[in-house]
Symmetry: D2
């Protein structure tokens, strides 16, 4: 069993090694605002189940969490409508890129899972129903602040505006689902909320804090409150494992061995049940849109700490 | 932590409940010989990491393991060629049925993973290279007997012959890959070995015994020998988790929360790392070709024993 | 060779027979305004190369020409940018429904041909470039009035508004192409023009008049002007033949044997080069979205007049 | 109207120009025996409806007609089972390469049309039913000899053997259809006949002779016999127009404007109804597997003679 000192050393070693690497992948350019990020940034933060925080690199620098936000919106939507959610979105890996529309045509507008773009838009639509966009967005933000115990977390409006101007493919996905009746609200309202929650900015430290409940059977460690029941936390972890990295999900399971969710901002939230919540950030991406060094760092980490859920 | 008595009670409860259920799914008919199996059969066997065996139902009745054999051939092929194997087959979930050929056309004959039919045929081809079919088959059988500590395990020749007569879709998959140069050996030889290893007959008790090494970081508990290194066992479990149930893999992870591999004979081998190896058998299948009651039984089991790898 | 009296008799026979049939297909419902049309309507009009007009049924009742307008916008766009158009849209049959998006993903946003919805939107975008929407629409309308020698042709604003409110799938197609840079103009402007030119209302008599130039090597018979050069008229006919009826194009060629373009309003414009221009209208559609009785009427017509381009 | 002298001059001009071109495309290599053909060969032959023969280049050199044979097997199969044939094969363009298997999976083993490989194998299976392979092959050969008035036409056994050794993709297609019950006969027998009729060797002169009936409403000009009724000849031409060049069919219609069928041996048979039957041969292929210079030659020919069926 890894002790505090072990974890500290591993975090420090990984941050040192990652700083030095030059094969950092490419920063996402399809959202213009994201392209301005420093590709040399790297951060790693762990919160273990005893509440100890281990942080290295730029772990207090906020970055655009993008699709990592989908873990929190999925949790919220399940809280709101329960298993009815699964009528609007599947829970199978898609075998396709994050922004693929092919599967939607073959499966009558029902997205394969809540972590590809189409699925996350459908989840956002569920959260929006019965609310005004501002309220829905406020609810999402309050939820994340509560999970992370941090009232300073906010939305980067420049990123939201940038995506709103250029997110044609997401507009296509949303209208396509709308044509099948999968979305209830006006497309532009649902997308407005979606673009804004993707534009939430968090540091690795904040992100690791926000993920704690998934490592602790659904319990919020600070308040002792059940964010979700244990069974639901388990199942959210399962969806992260099979669908959290688009068409690189199998690779992430193979190499890292933890449930995880990536975002094109270069962040990854990973969960080691019973051990800790882990956030990593490096803005350069691989071909599937997942942080290149982020995955390598997590692979080193699970190997050295023995935290893979696939080992005894 | 579940004790011996807990496990015994859970096995007994599940066997009782499953016996009584009438929603058993449909027995596979595409291999004529398999259609003759009694849909009412049910078995469950667990071997924990201390070597205790818990068995209920028809746990000594042999059944056709079919695609469950792919766990063992994957292990063998990795032992033979190491990570070079991944040049011939991917490790991503396919999002497609077990016998789909579409993905092969788009990805130039490279199967998505070693657990869909095409991928398993490619793996068999690797094992065959440099050997005669009889030898290759002998090696596979000896390996499984060694894993299970049971020299009585054998091939059901009637099932092998039945599939050889009617397995047109597998012939199509193999020739399709051959056209891209993905198979090295004559198609009929590779398929001969493939149809035969799928026709291996095992009881749940034998199957749970054979799966022990995956629950114990690659170690064969009887001899203490490393069947594979710990890292490789971990990664085989990861592939089972993301790809082990075809286009029902996400569902299995969601509901059961263990790495597992199903076969159209109605068997499932599941692995609880550090806890035990589990085999279940009920011949009725769901639409994805996975044992209907087998999945339900495993869901009950992980819930009651707290064995999901996604919980703390 | 069919004489005037023959053509008159054939038109009259077909109109009589079609009136009596009860298997009329289903009126399109996806544009609410179109669903209000009388399914019992039927019209047939022919203008031969000598300028004789043969008309039967409701041949002076205007209907929504919908995708038949794509013949005219293709002609206009070719006039504007020539063969450069083919960088933005292909000319192969798609083998897919009119509103499919799958092919766009595999072919990086380039629509297969100018007659599926995506392709026609790309063509409209070409016409729009350098103009304001009102001007572009005015140009399209003036062109059709000129071709038909009829200044009374106009747009049904209720239909345009109806589609603008509900055309989510076309919004999806347009945004999807925009994400690949295939559209130059703001999506909503291009779609505005597209929805409006699809909402042009014409009678069969007017439509047959408008199609004359395609039966006469590109020449406008009234003014003697070349609308397009002979080679271009020939090639527009070719695209109508292979792509004019979506995934029913092969069937139309097989049964009717003329270049033709259908619309979901139930109209079809068919061209018998050197013989005449033919318009038919019956609002009930088949599964591919083509007028059911319209196709049957044209099949009878080409058979009885010997007008198939595939016969000696 | 083009006279004899015009046609002679056009044939001679085209042959001269084609000899000189260096952009000849690539000879097919997937059948090893075909790769040995001289890429510099070129031939053109026309038989007009009065029986005049115009020939230039290597018009008496036999080449492997490959998929051009599918026109004759389609005609034979329609003669044998009539329109029942269309239960086993469609008549829509596929929008896919000649050897694609994707469409078969989505459409339950029914090939899109009789001119893609899968469709032609299904047609061959119809001809084989009730016969031994030798008899079926004899019937096909006798039919082609009758059509061409030439008893010397024969099969190139070396090509047939070469394809039988290496035609894995066709073996895949056939077994795939067999798995859906679309083929009645043992796969290897159907494929044996298929590989052999594709290996028929003919010169352009012979091929143009064999195609005469399609230019003359189904009539065999030498005997005056109806090979098929006029309506069927018309419909075979229609299928050639929409499906005769795989995913280059739209392009062929656009540029050439005649029904035509290509083969990977570099031959194309084209039909100008009421005017003549045309065969062209140049072994270099384009990316869709159609003769590069063959298409260019036919485009020049229809333009200069005004033979496009899309012109007045």
């Amino acid at each position: 069993m890894a002790g505090k000192a072990d974890i500290e050393r591993v975090v420090s070693d990984i941050c040192g090694e990652m700083r030095a690497r030059s094969d950092r992948g490419e920063v996402a350019t399809y959202i213009p605002e994201l392209a301005r990020v420093d590709v040399g940034a790297f951060a790693l933060a762990i919160v273990d189940t005893e509440g100890n925080v281990y942080a290295g690199g730029d772990s207090d620098t906020p970055f655009s969490i993008q699709s990592v936000s989908k873990v929190f919106t999925l949790t919220l939507a399940l809280g709101k409508v329960g298993d009815h959610l699964w009528r609007r979105v599947g829970r199978e890996p898609s075998g396709s890129p994050f922004n693929s529309i092919v599967q939607l045509e073959y499966e009558r507008g029902i997205p394969r899972n809540p972590f590809i773009n189409a699925g996350a838009i459908a989840v956002t639509d569920v959260i929006l129903s019965g609310h005004r966009p501002k309220e829905a967005l406020g609810e999402i933000l309050r939820f994340i602040r509560f999970l992370a115990d941090d009232a300073s977390i906010s939305i980067d409006e420049a990123v939201a505006a940038s995506e709103q101007r250029t997110g044609f493919r997401n507009v296509a996905l949303a209208n396509y689902m709308k044509s099948f009746g999968v979305l209830e609200n006006p497309v532009e309202l649902t997308l407005g909320v979606y673009f804004h929650h993707c534009a939430i900015a968090m540091s690795c430290r904040q992100l690791a804090m926000a993920g704690r409940f998934l490592a602790q059977n659904g319990r919020h460690p600070t308040t002792g409150q059940q964010v979700v029941l244990a069974g639901r936390a388990r199942r959210i972890n399962a969806v992260m494992m099979t669908c959290g990295h688009y068409d690189g999900s199998g690779e992430f399971a193979f190499r890292v061995g933890l449930p995880g969710k990536s975002g094109v901002g270069g962040g990854i939230l990973a969960v080691a049940p019973g051990k800790g919540s882990i956030a990593v950030w490096s803005p350069g991406l691989d071909a599937s849109g997942n942080s290149r060094l982020g995955q390598i760092a997590l692979e080193m980490l699970t190997k050295r700490l023995g935290w893979s859920i696939f080992s005894a």
